[in-house]
């Protein structure tokens, strides 16, 4: 079992949950620890209930885990919701002036802080937060110096007096805990590693910059807005044109326009915005102008639950825009992969001149993860495919009238000239057209030409499938159970498998990253050897299960689904697997015990 430690901070929006979260995250990552942070929140600026879970440890931490070791409730509501879920070994630090704790489980340490005795609360409204941080770090066995350094950075802009005040309050909490509270049994270790801590949205934005994206545009929509924020803040340093557009229809069309003129262009949205973009996706395919669209899924349908996660957009992506056309859809497996996937996706869509969709979700978009800086590679390969630019017309590319933009080729790929190149004028059209770009519907539609163009475009799908990597089984062979997931559930399924293996149930995992094209045959071959298979996904209807069946005829033994807005915790999967292996059911819908 991996050593991990989780801090849960709960309060109303506006009470300052984020700052202690940032301070803990910095201290953990500077100790060389991995971390994973997930914030459960609501679409509200002030009030409600926000619960931030930061889980850390010396090995990779892939999800929020099952237990809270240290609970810091900033109000009565938070302790009422979470104290009952603490188990032996955990502790709860709270403001004894304002909060009545109730009775915790056996072995849970209650740590009341006499806040008004320890700090001048008339001067410092968030003194309780700072005291709790100091007390908590003492109990974790972390030196005060580490906290002092981070506080100095955090409050640097507000001046020395504010830094000094916060340091002295933190010190009071730290010392109080030393004398009154029992430290945690396993102090947090230190390692020599140093990690970057980032959200999936930042990772995708940076991945875009690394891919050479020169044009980014968006309309704000949770949970994708973080991509826009990073892009906008770094645009000038990165040489990227960033625009906020009037709606998502404008967004996708503007991105395609920029792409058509020869730059790499990207945009991000969530399900509702994507719905507006779908006609544009078809245009990208028909004009053969590559564009990358990120969809950060949130709980739907319609406006749905804007601040909650789900994997419910798969069929929207599969069916986006009418007609048949080649498309690429991939779901990043974790926040590091959010970065890595973007340059890969651009190389494919540039080469095959079609739209690419990155199917992310709130869990990754807004979650935070420690990533080795070496994995944020700004020098990955850039392959623009058969692109004719003003900087160089390749020999043999032909000029008017020899140049045909939609030349029929075996691969389905036709060399693409961008506007500005002499001798290659042509019209790119959303109407069906011939090799020369002339609309076939203008006078006499032509069945032979129509068929040839359909087949040319669709041939590209085979090339894409040959290029991308087929999925592989992770974990021990000859398992009792194989868990199949896609995208963001990678980490939690991996941990569930570890727990099952410790408990004597041999479990392995098949995680899907490339959704379209899907390696149906390869998946069938892999799963042939599995004794019992279960598809795990964050939606109601088993969208991936239905898709897999349509592409490969594969039917698993069971399903684990969750559609309450919150992500899976490892024990949800572990318990459901056990229930299914006894034959009790083949569909488990674990209940989320935490009311967030």
């Amino acid at each position: 079992m991996r050593q991990t430690f989780a801090v849960g901070i709960g309060g109303a929006a506006g009470q300052g949950v984020a700052t202690p979260g940032d301070i803990f995250a910095k201290i953990f990552s500077r100790r060389g620890l991995h971390l994973n942070a997930y914030n459960a929140y609501q679409s509200i600026i002030r009030g409600g209930h926000t619960f931030l879970t930061i889980r850390t440890g010396p090995q990779k931490v892939t999800n929020m885990g099952d237990r809270i070791d240290l609970l810091i409730p900033l109000n009565q509501d938070s302790i009422d919701r979470h104290l009952r879920l603490l188990t032996a070994g955990a502790a709860c630090i709270y403001n004894a002036d304002t909060i009545k704790p109730g009775v915790p489980a056996e072995g849970v340490q209650l740590c009341p802080l006499p806040v008004s005795d320890l700090a001048d609360i008339t001067r410092n409204k968030v003194a309780q937060n700072t005291l709790a941080i100091g007390a908590g770090l003492n109990m974790m066995g972390i030196s005060f110096q580490a906290l002092e350094n981070v506080l100095a950075e955090q409050f640097k802009k507000k001046g020395d007096a504010v830094v000094a005040e916060n340091v002295s309050i933190a010190r009071a909490g730290y010392d109080y805990a030393a004398s009154k509270f029992k430290p945690f049994e396993r102090p947090l270790p230190m390692t020599e590693h140093r990690y970057a801590v980032l959200s999936g949205n930042i990772a995708m934005a940076m991945g875009g910059a690394a891919a050479g994206v020169k044009f980014y545009c968006a309309y704000p929509m949770s949970p994708s807005t973080g991509v826009l924020h990073w892009m906008a803040a770094h645009a000038r340093k990165a040489g990227i044109m960033v625009r906020q557009v009037e709606d998502e229809i404008g967004v996708v069309n503007m991105a395609i326009g920029a792409a058509h003129a020869g730059v790499r262009a990207m945009c991000a949205t969530s399900g509702g915005g994507f719905a507006l973009m779908s006609e544009g996706l078809g245009m990208s395919a028909m004009m053969e102008t590559p564009v990358v669209v990120i969809d950060c899924q949130r709980a739907g349908p319609s406006t749905g639950v804007p601040t909650k996660t789900e994997q419910g957009d798969l069929w929207q992506m599969l069916g986006a825009a009418f007609g048949d056309y080649p498309r690429v859809i991939a779901a990043p497996l974790d926040i590091g992969d959010c970065f890595k996937l973007i340059p890969e996706m651009f190389n494919i869509v540039d080469r095959f001149q079609c739209p690419g969709i990155v199917l992310c979700d709130l869990l990754l978009s807004e979650g935070r993860l420690s990533v080795d800086p070496k994995d944020l590679n700004f020098n990955s390969q850039i392959d623009r495919g058969e692109l004719i630019t003003a900087n160089g017309v390749p020999v043999g590319a032909g000029t008017n009238g020899a140049y045909k933009r939609y030349k029929i080729t075996e691969s389905g790929i036709s060399p693409r000239a961008v506007p500005g190149v002499p001798g290659h004028t042509h019209t790119a059209s959303t109407d069906e057209h011939d090799e020369d770009g002339v609309l076939i519907s203008d006078e006499f539609t032509n069945t032979v030409k129509r068929r040839a163009m359909m087949e040319k475009r669709m041939r590209k799908a085979m090339g894409i499938e040959a290029l991308i990597q087929a999925p592989a089984l992770k974990g021990p062979p000859n398992s009792d159970v194989t868990l199949i997931g896609w995208g963001s559930t990678n980490g939690v399924i991996e941990e569930a498998c570890e727990i099952l293996n410790e408990q004597g149930i041999i479990a392995n995992q098949l995680q899907i990253r490339w959704l379209v094209p899907l390696h149906g045959e390869a998946i069938n071959d892999i799963l042939k050897g599995s004794r019992h298979t279960i598809i795990v996904e964050n939606n109601y209807s088993g969208q991936f299960a239905r898709y897999l069946r349509s592409e490969s005829s594969y039917v698993p033994n069971g399903y684990i689904r969750k559609y309450d807005g919150e992500p899976f915790m490892p024990h949800h999967i572990v318990e459901a697997v056990k229930e299914q292996l006894t034959g009790k059911t083949h569909l488990s819908v674990p209940a989320h015990e935490v009311m967030v």
Partner: protein
């Protein structure tokens, strides 16, 4: 606008002839607009490879196929959004957007307003025939009140939009109206619109001879009055332009309503483009910048 100097060859009408002949109905006003655009490009000597003609969907939106420039025949109502992307990616290109009244003021109304307020440097020509033609004759956003069409057989109950007033209100920096029956005048307006640095809006009366039997050449001819013929008219005066834009009836003004040259274009206002067009800029993030991006996260 840049006019591309690397091609020594003179630009002639023959260079601008499309791969196919227009399939508009005989007598359609759009023929006149096509000819005027070609004449304007010849007179301005802009090589065809430096021009991108972008349209939406509709009769007039088939325009890019009938002229030999780079062309994009996009989605219904979306031409201006696409054109904004093209212009921002390569601001050395001359961008022409062509379409109809349904495409521009109906389904594309949102982009129309926002592209104007952004002052994107392009010329938007609307071939305004006050009807939906390609779908065989329904009411358009500029159809007159009471006009009977297949979709409103008992008469239009909705007041038409006024494209010129809309453009003034939205902040377009060049606003003009032409008439397909006035070739020379139209050509001059197109040249002026191309040369204007900023968003140029040109609404052109382009009669539909098949489905709009109200607003015909014969109906327009006695009514149109050139603003240029009125020496007292000051096209730098926004309020005067707004007042003129409201005239409709026995006298309908055509010509340049308004122009201002003191508003920066969108591409001119963005420092990212100071070094030149995006399409020519390097794709790699400088190592120093990349390192800083990562350090911020540590």
């Amino acid at each position: 606008m840049a006019t591309g100097v690397e091609t020594p060859k003179q630009v002639a009408m023959a260079d601008l002839k499309g791969k196919v002949d227009p399939d508009w109905c005989p007598g359609c006003g759009d023929f006149g607009v096509l000819a005027a655009v070609q004449k304007a490009l010849v007179e301005l000597q802009i090589p065809n490879h430096n021009v991108v003609t972008i349209s939406g969907i509709g009769c007039s939106s088939n325009f890019p196929g009938f002229i030999n420039t780079y062309g994009m025949h996009t989605l219904h109502g979306r031409a201006l959004a696409v054109a904004t992307g093209v212009k921002l990616a390569n601001h050395q290109l001359t961008v022409l957007v062509t379409g109809g009244d349904g495409d521009g003021f109906g389904i594309g109304g949102n982009h129309f307003v926002h592209t104007m307020r952004r002052n994107v440097d392009l010329l938007y020509i609307v071939m305004d025939n006050q009807i939906y033609g390609l779908t065989t004759g329904q009411t358009s956003p500029t159809s007159r009140l009471g006009m009977k069409t297949k979709s409103m057989p008992f008469g239009n109950l909705e007041a038409p939009v006024n494209p010129i007033s809309m453009a003034l209100a939205a902040g377009a920096t060049f606003i003009a109206r032409g008439f397909s029956g006035e070739q020379k005048h139209l050509t001059e307006l197109i040249k002026h619109g191309i040369q204007h640095k900023g968003f140029s809006f040109l609404d052109v009366f382009s009669p539909c001879v098949t489905y709009n039997l109200d607003n015909t050449y014969q109906w327009f001819r006695p009514r149109v009055k050139k603003l240029e013929d009125d020496p007292a008219y000051d096209s730098t005066h926004w309020l005067a332009a707004m007042e003129k834009s409201l005239l409709w009836g026995d006298e309908i003004p055509i010509g340049k309503f308004f122009e201002r040259t003191d508003v920066p274009t969108l591409h001119g206002a963005e420092p990212v483009l100071n070094e030149g067009p995006l399409v020519d800029s390097g794709m790699r993030i400088p190592p120093d910048a990349a390192r800083k991006f990562i350090e911020e996260l540590m």
